[in-house]
Amino acid sequence: MEIKTIVYVILAIILAPIAGGLLSRIDRRLTAWFQGRFGPPILQPFYDVIKLLGKDRQVVNYWQIFCVHIYLVAAILCVALFAMQGDLLMIFFVMTIGAVFMVAGAMAAPSPYSQLGAQRELIQMLTYEPLLVIVFVGIYFVTGSFKIDEILAYDRPIFLLLPLLYLVLTFALTIKLRKSPFDISASHHAHQELVRGVLTEYSGPYLAILEIAHWYDIVLILAICSLFWSTSFIGMVILLAVTYLAEIVIDNVTPRMTWKWMLTYVWAVGISLSFFNMALLYAKNF
C-alpha cells in the first residue's frame, strides 16, 4: 500500500465522525428552522455523545455490547475501505456486517420493542440492499468497474447518465439516515410506536458507540453519493447539499409509513426507476 493511501485512510477514520456529527447538527438546526424553531447549539451532537459516554453502564444482555462494537468496527472498516478506494460491492457487503450485528444486538435483548425494531430493521435492509446493488451495477455499467479508483477516473459526472439511479440511491440514503417516511425501526427521538426501536435497550456509552457508528455510516453513504459527481469538487458539494436538504424537507413533510408500504413501494419504484434508467442508457448506446 502506498503512503498516500494510508494517509487517506487515517484521515477518513478521524474526519468521518466529525463530519457525521456536524452533519447531524446541521440536520437538527435546519429541521428546527423548518419547524419554525430556533434549534440546538453548534456542538450539540458532540455534547450528546460525550455525555452518553460519561453515563453509567447498564446492560440487558452482554451480547449486545459485543454486537455494538462489531457494528462500530465494521462501520469504520467500510469508511477505511472507501478511502482505500476499494471495491464498491465489497464495501457494501462489509457494511452488511455492521447492519446485521446491529440487528443481532437488538435481538439479543429480550425486549419487545428492541426485537420488533430488529425485525423492522431487517425489513429495511431487505428494502435497501437490492437497490444499492443495482446502483453499484449501474455505476459499473457506466464506468466498467466496481473499483472506486477506476470510477473516479471516469471523466464525466455519472449523475448525468444515471439520474434516476441516483434517486434510487437517495431512497437507500433516507432509510440509512432513519428519516421519515422510513424511520420505522428506530428514530432520533422516541416518537414512535416502538419507542426507539433497535436502540431501545442500548444505554449510556453503548448508545454513544451506536451513534458514532451511525455517523460513519452516514458519511459512507454520502461518499457513495458523491461518486455521482466526482469530476468537480463544486459539483460534488452542490449535489450533496441539495440531496441532504431534500432529505430534510422530505423528513419534515411526510409521516412515517409502515414496513409493508415501504417494502412494496420502494421496491416497485426503485426497481422500475432503475430499469428505466438502464433502458435510457441502452438507448443512448445504440
Binding site: 429541521t31 419547524q35 420488533l116 427521538h189 410506536e193 419507542v195 409521516p255 412515517r256 409509513m257
Partner: protein
C-alpha cells in the same frame, strides 16, 4: 406464533398512561386488552369533604384540557337544582371560553396525531398555532390551561370590549393559518395512506358501542350536545359536523372542520354578546338529583349530581367522553397494524385523566 407487546403506561407516543397489552402476529394486532387506573385519583369522593364551591375547582381539574367545560357543566347542575338564573352575559362568556378550549384541544390533538404519524413538523406547526389560543386564555382568564373562570352563579372574570375585538382578530388569523395546512390533511398521499381506512367504526358500531363526540360524528351520527342549546348555544347557528367513513381520517376531518366551526361560533358569540352582570349571588344549599350534559371537544359529558341540602353534596358522578370511547377503541384495534395502533388510539383523542377521574 405471536408477539406480546406492552403499550403504556409510560410510552413516548401515547402521552396518557393507558396500558394496552397487544398480541401481535407479523405486526397485525390480534388482541388488545386495556388496563386502566394509572390516573385514577377518586376525585368524586372529594365531594364528601369539600363544599360545593370548592368542588368547582376540583372538577375543573378532572382534566386540564377542557377544564372549563367541566366546571361549567358542574355549575349548570348546581344552578339547576337551586333554580338559579345565570346572567346572559355570563352564559356567553362561558361559551366563548368553552369554544376557545375546544379549539386549543383540537389543535393539541392534531399535533399529537401528527406526532404519532411521525410528522414532527406538523406537530410543531400546529402547537405553535395553538399558543395563540393559549395566550388568549392567559390574557382573559389569568392562566393558560386551567382557567378557573366558572363559579356557581356565573363567571369570575369579565372580558373587555378590547379583549373581545382581539379575540376576533386572533381567530381570524387562525383561520387563515388553518387554511394553509388544510391540504396536508385532505390531500396528502402519505397522510391519507396512514389514516384512510384505518380503524373503521361503522355507523352501527359507533351507535351501539356508545361512542361520543367526533368519534360518533365521524361514523355518520349527527349528534352533538350543543344542539340541546344549553347556555348560550341556543342563540347560535351551527350544525354538527359529520363525516361518513368512520375511519381515522374521517375523525380527523371532523375535528379539523370543527375548528372552523368553533371559529365561527366564537365570532357569532362576540357579535351577539349582551352587556350586563356576570354573576348572581348564591344563597342556600341545593337538594335533589340532576343530570346535565354538555359537549366537550371529545364528545358528550354528563354530570349526575345528588344533594340533600347538606353542606356537602351526596354524589357527583362524571361520565366523560373518553370513557364512552374506550369500548369502540377496543373494537377497532384487532386487525390493524401495530404502527396504526397509536394512530387509531389517538384518533379517538383519548383523555384518560377524565376517564378515570
Amino acid at each position: 406464533m405471536s408477539t406480546i407487546v406492552p403499550f403504556g403506561p409510560q410510552h413516548p407516543v401515547l402521552p396518557e398512561p393507558l396500558h394496552l397489552k397487544l398480541v401481535l402476529e407479523d405486526e397485525i394486532v390480534k388482541e388488545a386488552l386495556p388496563t386502566l387506573g394509572y390516573v385514577h385519583r377518586g376525585l368524586e369522593t372529594l365531594a364528601s369533604i369539600r363544599d360545593m364551591d370548592q368542588m368547582v375547582q376540583i372538577v375543573e381539574r378532572v382534566c386540564g384540557i377542557c377544564s372549563c367545560i367541566h366546571a361549567h357543566t358542574y355549575c349548570m347542575c348546581v344552578e339547576g337544582m337551586m333554580g338559579i338564573e345565570v346572567p346572559q352575559r355570563a352564559d356567553f362568556l362561558r361559551i366563548i371560553w368553552s369554544e376557545l378550549h375546544r379549539m386549543h384541544s383540537h389543535m393539541l390533538w392534531l399535533g399529537l396525531l401528527a406526532d404519532a404519524l411521525g410528522m414532527e413538523s406538523l406537530f410543531m406547526h400546529v402547537w405553535r398555532l395553538r399558543e395563540r389560543v393559549m395566550d388568549v386564555a392567559e390574557a382573559t382568564a389569568g392562566n393558560r390551561v386551567i382557567i378557573s373562570v366558572n363559579k356557581i352563579g356565573g363567571v369570575r372574570r369579565n372580558m373587555s370590549p378590547d379583549q373581545l375585538r382581539w379575540i376576533v382578530q386572533v381567530v381570524d388569523e387562525l383561520e387563515t393559518e388553518l387554511d394553509k395546512i388544510k391540504s396536508v390533511l385532505t390531500n396528502d398521499y402519505t397522510v391519507k395512506k396512514r389514516t384512510v381506512g384505518k380503524g373503521v367504526l361503522t355507523y352501527q358500531q359507533a351507535y351501539e358501542l356508545g361512542a361520543a363526540g367526533p368519534q360518533l360524528r365521524g361514523s355518520g351520527v349527527a349528534q352533538d350536545m350543543r344542539m340541546t342549546g344549553y347556555s348560550a348555544y341556543k342563540y347560535i347557528d351551527f350544525a354538527p359536523v359529520v363525516e361518513k367513513d368512520g375511519d381515522s381520517w374521517a375523525r380527523t376531518m371532523v375535528r379539523f372542520r370543527e375548528l372552523y366551526q368553533s371559529i365561527d361560533i366564537v365570532r357569532q358569540l362576540i357579535a351577539k354578546i349582551p352587556d350586563g352582570e356576570i354573576a348572581v349571588k348564591v344563597k342556600g344549599k341545593p337538594s335533589g338529583e340532576i343530570v346535565c350534559r354538555s359537549e366537550q371537544p371529545r364528545g358528550e359529558l354528563m354530570y349526575y349530581v345528588k344533594a340533600s341540602g347538606d353542606k356537602y353534596l351526596d354524589r357527583v358522578r362524571i361520565r366523560t367522553p373518553t370513557f364512552a370511547n374506550v369500548p369502540p377503541l377496543l373494537a377497532m384495534l384487532p386487525g390493524c397494524e401495530m404502527a396504526d395502533v397509536t394512530v387509531i388510539a389517538l384518533s379517538i383523542d383519548p383523555c384518560i385523566s377524565c376517564t378515570e377521574r
